[in-house]
């Protein structure tokens, strides 16, 4: 199996789905000849032509509104919004239409589109290029919100998202686009949307995270094992909405202790929902207050201070030790 980056894995998913299904159309700013500013759509216009990999004028609301129309007519649009910081321009198309056309037409219509967009900090980018606003999207009923954490699950989840009958927001962590490689099989691989995954098994502490934050979380888990002898049970959410609580609830029923990590601001971030589910479903198993290691409730600063803002291994360790000692 070839070892590829997440960018290459996403490209592979798009290419294979486009080969298989002529309903799959890519559209967005600079997705054609330029191959997308992160090169996720590299080479697709050469292989499939300008009708399948469509460079659009610069208008996010236009791109998403058009994708909705294409999906209504039976296509499977995969649109790219260049940075999630610009996706608020198209917010109303998602909230008012994509997420509710099935409901508004009482099942007559569906909007099987995917909105791919890079999110998150850690790449020394300009303003509006580093936020992590998954809460906006995961708060919308009728919409699915997926955040992969590495090349292999990114590829499998994107294929599933394209085939999903409902609209899917697909967040791609810029910090892990090229940070590491994984083996990704040539042959088809899908992963169910709405299912979390256990990536490390342990009995002492449950750690729940997703996306680019899985790396520092796993690094912290290793240190806890080596230095503190703490065995962590690490859950990768993969889908933020609809949120799968079976694994993390079951895990906390075993460990009695939990820690949530995300780079989104703390208040009403996905951690708030995770902790609520734990209170609902594992309250009597809890032996310590659940900790949240998150971005602060401020706008992420320009890059000279972004490492101070983003959760890091140190901050996770600190919180984990506190949970273990209380």
């Amino acid at each position: 199996m070839p070892k590829v980056t997440m960018v290459q894995a996403l490209n592979m998913a798009l290419r294979q789905e486009m080969e298989k299904d002529d309903r799959v159309i890519i559209l967005g700013e600079d997705v054609g000849l330029d191959g997308g500013v992160f090169r996720v759509t590299d080479g697709l216009v050469q292989e499939f032509g300008e009708d399948r990999s469509v460079d659009t004028p610069l208008a996010e609301s236009g791109i998403v509104g058009m994708s909705i129309g294409m999906a209504l007519y039976g296509l499977r649009p995969v649109c790219e919004i260049q940075f999630s910081g610009f996706s608020y321009h198209n917010f109303h198309q998602i909230e008012n239409h994509a997420a509710r056309l099935r409901w508004r037409s009482q099942g007559r219509f569906q909007v099987p589109m995917v909105l791919r967009t890079p999110y998150g900090g850690g790449v020394r980018a300009l303003e509006h290029h580093s936020e992590s606003r998954e809460t906006f999207w995961s708060h919308i009923p009728g919409l699915k919100m997926v955040i992969p954490s590495g090349p292999r699950n990114a590829r499998a989840l994107l294929v599933s998202a394209i085939r999903d009958p409902d609209p899917v927001i697909f967040y791609e962590g810029k910090a892990i686009y090229r940070a590491f490689r994984e083996e990704v099989p040539e042959e088809e691989e899908t992963m169910p949307i709405g299912q979390s995954q256990r990536v490390k098994e342990g009995k002492d502490l449950t750690m729940i995270s997703y996306g680019a934050m899985m790396r520092p979380t796993l690094q912290a888990a290793e240190t806890l094992q080596e230095k503190d002898g703490i065995e962590t049970d690490v859950i990768d959410l993969l889908t933020i909405s609809p949120m799968d609580d079976t694994l993390f609830v079951e895990s906390v029923q075993k460990t009695g202790r939990a820690l949530v990590v995300h780079e989104a601001p703390r208040t009403l971030g996905p951690g708030a929902e995770i902790v609520s589910r734990l209170v609902e479903k594992a309250f009597y198993y809890l032996e310590a207050p659940v900790a949240r290691v998150t971005g602060f409730d401020i706008i992420i600063p320009l890059f000279s201070r972004e490492n101070a803002y983003l959760p890091n291994v140190h901050r996770i360790l600190r919180a984990a030790r506190k949970v273990m000692s209380s």
């Binding site: 610069l58 236009g62 020394r124 300009l126 401020i298």
Partner: protein, 368 residues
């Protein structure tokens, strides 16, 4: 009830005063005092050389990503030159030369591109908005400022900048429409530099000109040779005078060229040819203007050399200052500043947690 054509008077003109060979149309030459002409020339040279210096700083990893302005000096400086200090400007992210003209310090530019929020100046008398990265969003802010100026019965104006790509955004059209409806004293400068990252102007819109977008909203639109500073100045001055006189908004399309990459993260070789870039090199706004000033007898090669030395030293001074400030100002706690007038209790609690964490790291001496 016949079917007939509705006559819509076209208000779209095009303007060129100093062509690429430096030849002047004397009948259109604006009356600009010598001192201002030389000041503009200096600002163009400073903008160009500072841009080049920023690029080298970026390539050395001393600052982060930025959007170069090379080739667009006339297009932005000619536009802002007729503004007063009490007027307002809402830039996009490619108006560095105009921002310096309006009083921003080079140190601030370096700090902001160096990842320091301190580069966003907090000067009370400064009427320019921070750089707006979400494309075309700032057009509506300039419109709102202009509406408020009219409400307060001032004869000030607001000027917004955007690029050719920005004309595809809804915000641009909403801004133009509102400007027409309210006859607001706003001047919208579209720097048509031919490229929105990899998408050429020809694929951005089917319209023959961008200036004609004004027609739909019944405000004047004019297409100007954006590399001809005399033409840009003349068109801008005319629009500003009209706005001050209560005659409403204007859309100005400055036809120019993005000589460099979109930002330093971009590689234009993927989508455009050297041939095209080289053709535009011949239309350089600075060379053309220098020829005009030399022909006028107020500039010489010797004076240009002195100016270049002078500008180089000024830039070096700013780089030194900014780098010294960056070394000094790495106070991570400051990221909690300016989020609110008063930090809410739960955010204040987070600030304290962070403070404790920093103290602990200080004790341990590392992050692990």
């Amino acid at each position: 009830m016949p079917r007939k054509k509705i006559t819509i008077p076209s208000k779209v003109e095009s303007l060129s005063i100093l062509n690429e060979k430096g030849q002047l149309d004397k009948t259109l030459e604006p009356d600009i005092p010598e001192e201002l002409l030389l000041k503009l020339h200096r600002a163009m040279v400073l903008g160009r050389r500072f841009d080049e210096r920023l690029l080298s700083l970026q390539r050395q990893g001393r600052i982060g990503t930025f959007a170069p302005i090379t080739g667009q000096e006339a297009s932005q400086l000619g536009a802002v030159a007729p503004l007063r200090d009490t007027d307002w400007m809402a830039p996009s992210f490619r108006e560095m030369a105009a921002e310096l003209w309006r009083g921003k310090a080079m140190e601030s530019v370096i700090l902001a591109y160096g990842g320091y929020n301190e580069g966003w100046p907090d000067e009370k008398e400064h009427n320019d908005l921070p750089v707006a990265i979400p494309v075309a969003s700032q057009v509506l802010h300039a419109l709102g400022i202009a509406w408020a100026m009219k409400y307060r019965q001032k004869d000030d104006v607001a000027m917004a900048f955007l690029g050719d790509g920005g004309t595809s955004e809804g915000d641009f059209h909403e801004g133009l429409n509102f400007a027409g409806v309210y006859q607001a004293p706003v001047i919208i400068i579209c720097q048509n530099n031919q490229w929105a990252i990899s998408v050429p102007r020809s694929k951005q819109t089917r319209s023959k000109t961008l200036a004609q977008k004004a027609l739909a909203y019944d405000i004047p639109g004019i297409q100007v040779d954006g590399n001809d500073i005399l033409a840009v100045y003349a068109a801008s001055k005319e629009a500003i005078d009209r706005a001050r006189a209560g005659e409403g908004a204007t859309l100005i399309e400055n036809v120019t060229y993005r000589m460099m990459m979109h930002t330093t993260a971009d590689d234009p070789k993927r989508y455009r040819t050297d041939k095209e870039v080289n053709a535009w090199k011949k239309r350089d706004p600075i060379i053309r203007f220098q020829k005009y000033l030399i022909d006028k007898g107020i500039l010489s090669d010797k004076k240009i050399n002195t100016l270049e030395e002078d500008v180089k030293a000024e830039i070096q001074g700013a780089v030194d200052n900014a780098e010294a400030m960056m070394k000094k100002t790495i106070e991570p706690m400051d990221m909690f500043n300016h989020a609110y007038e008063e930090l809410p209790p739960y955010t204040e609690q987070q600030r304290k947690e962070f403070e404790e964490e920093l103290a602990e790291i200080g004790k341990e001496g590392n992050h692990a």
